[in-house]
Amino acid sequence: MTDTTASPGTGTVSAEENRARIRKGLARRHRQEAIFRGMGVAAIAAALGFVAILFGMIIFKGAPAFWQATLTAEVYFDPEVIESDPRPVQQEGQSPADYRAELLRWERAVTLSNWNAVVADSIRKLAPDMELERKDALELVTSSVRYKLRDMFVENPDLLGQTVSVSMLGSANTDVWLKGNIDRSLADDRQQLSAATRELADRLAEEGVIRSAFAWHIFTNVDSRSAPASAGLAGAFVGSLYMMLVVIALAVPIGVASAVYLEEFAPKNRLTDLIEVNINNLAAVPSIVFGLLGAAVFINYFKLPLSAPLVGGMVLTLMTLPTIIIATRSSLRAVPPSLRQAALGLGASQTQTVFHHVLPLTFPGILTATIIGVAQALGETAPLLLIGMNAFVANVPATPMDQATALPVQIYLWQGNENRNFFEARTSAAIMVLLGLMIMLNALAIFLRTRLEKRQ
């Protein structure tokens, strides 16, 4: 059809006019597209910006906590202070139990020695001209130093009368003072350290006796109230680890089995529809409700112990199950029906079809769902508070039945610590550790997924 001929449908409009109309609208269409693209870019920029601000703030606050004031002092194991009998040796004919009891008695006696005096003396020697009171000297280092010295002595009683250099962690207050996290112009009565200790700290820092050392103990120590400077995440980490293991051991088999049954075997009727709706709803239930449920069922009814990672893991399993079921079902649904037909047509039973052909294809999906579910569970706090996992625990739990806390709960506990000046940075440091773990888990999920998908 050529220019001026009016086509039947368009009445009297010529082709030229038609083109002009299209052209007129073109500018508007392009503009709309540009606006939409601009909004998309702006939205992404805003989201990334918020993430960057969040991470930036956490790292800015938390990173300094990984370096802590540390000093090395000469410690004299003064025989006049450490009143100790020689360490018992096992006598001929003495039963091991008796020997152990005697050893324990000796250790107790050693502990009763005035270790604070030993610590204070070694600090005083760092600044002999200052004539420090014992209290002021002790304030400089964290209170767990005395246990460190005691343990050294119990390990090796020959130290009596000797002088050895020992690395000591500065107290939380010293750390705060030296990092400038407290206003130096505050009046004496509002300072955490006495005037003498502040002067001592400044002087030793200037002389290079007090250094800033990497705080490995954040990863190896458990939480501590009496010696906040030495508080670490090891207990919470192991607690979280146990819970993750419980979640994996329970949620994966139960979740995958339910998903496979519902998707591949169950008759499609009212009941299964109802179950499906309920599973989807479960995924949206606030986590604290699962905590209440766990407290009522696992603890009150089944009498499982409070604060135990086993119970925590079971509660988190309830939370993770819907995620795993939904993800597994959607990856089952993504398997082409032609594959099932192929297997069934060859005479494979339903079970063989599912296990030989369908499930292997969904493996990457299930794995990713599991890792993401576990990562979610790792960051969950509220339900754990309701089953007592916010208790202060000063041990690394040896089994999933022992009292423990978890990483996010530890963050919550530190965030609420009264010593804000010190724990603010420590809290951010713990958040960094948790985020690091999450990022590692998610990266693992992506890595495994791409690898498995490539192999197929």
């Binding site: 082409p336 032609s338 037909q341 192929a342 039973s349």
Partner: protein, 282 residues
């Protein structure tokens, strides 16, 4: 079942020279009936898809189902290996005898039935596994072999019969999904015949293939009919004319007419059949 498959095994290896002669006899004698369906009705939920279909399918040779799209050809084909069981809400009534066994009986073990009645689908659907594993899967799940050598033998001979062996013999461990469409469909045929079925169902096996691949498959079907009872659904009348000895015409869920292919295409009795083959309906 045991005796039948042994018989089948023997029949599997006819001397090449006499093969053509054997076919000749089979088709000329009209041969005995292998599958006989009586008053088959199929419903999908409320909707009835097949109405009182009765037909005899002869042993050996190719029977073609033709008819416009949606007339129920695939539905009826699926009755023959009970694949309709896998469709939610599908109900089949009537009698379908395979060697005097009513395969429409709900108590029948479909696993055994499907080992006897193989199926090739419209779209090639190899397993995402190696070529070897694709063919070995059926014999393996049915426990048909007792040694690796025996299994190898079945895999190789099935591939050979499907005319694929020469093309893939150097890459049996490569994924079957990496083959071309036509090769994939021949792989699916090899996979289906590896379980030594007595009946082979094919639902528009060439509709996803190009003309050259189609020609190869048609040739293959022509060879396979020596040893298998083949039922093929096709929307191409030329294909039905080329490969089948018997043709059945379906329309709106009813079997309108059936008979020797030649007669259906040259001298149909029913007006609807005539309209269809002359291109006036469908």
């Amino acid at each position: 079942m045991d005796t039948t498959s042994q018989e089948q095994t023997k029949k599997f290896e006819p001397p090449a020279a006499t093969a053509a002669a054997a076919v000749e006899t089979a088709t000329q004698t009209g041969s005995k009936t292998r599958v006989s369906a009586r008053d088959v009705n199929v419903h999908y939920g409320e909707k009835q898809a097949l109405f009182d279909v009765s037909i005899d399918i002869p042993d050996r040779g190719v029977t073609a189902f033709i008819g416009p799209s949606g007339c129920g050809k695939s539905t009826f084909l699926r009755c023959l290996n009970r694949m309709n069981d896998t469709i939610e809400g599908c109900r089949v009534t009537g009698k379908i005898l395979l060697d005097d066994v009513d395969i429409a009986n709900p108590d029948l073990d479909v696993v055994e039935l499907r080992a006897r009645v193989g199926m090739v689908f419209q779209k090639p659907n190899p397993f995402p596994k190696s070529i070897y594993e694709n063919v070995a899967y059926g014999p393996r799940i049915h426990g048909m072999t007792s040694s690796k050598d025996e299994l190898d033998e079945i895999v190789y001979s099935s591939l050979r019969r499907a005319g694929l062996y020469e093309e893939v013999k150097d890459r049996l461990d490569q994924p079957g999904t990496g083959l071309s469409g036509g090769q994939q469909q021949r792989l699916c045929i090899a996979r289906a015949i590896a379980t030594k079925p007595e009946v082979l169902l094919m639902d528009e096996p060439c509709s996803a293939l190009d003309p050259i691949a189609t020609a190869i498959i048609e040739e293959l079907i022509d060879e396979l009919r020596e040893n298998f009872t083949i039922v093929i659904v096709t929307h191409s009348m030329q294909q039905a004319a080329r490969v089948s000895q018997k043709t059945a015409f379906f329309h709106l869920g009813k079997l309108i007419e059936e008979g020797p292919t030649e007669q259906i295409f040259t001298n149909p009795l029913d007006k609807k059949t005539q309209d269809y083959i002359t291109g006036r309906i469908g």
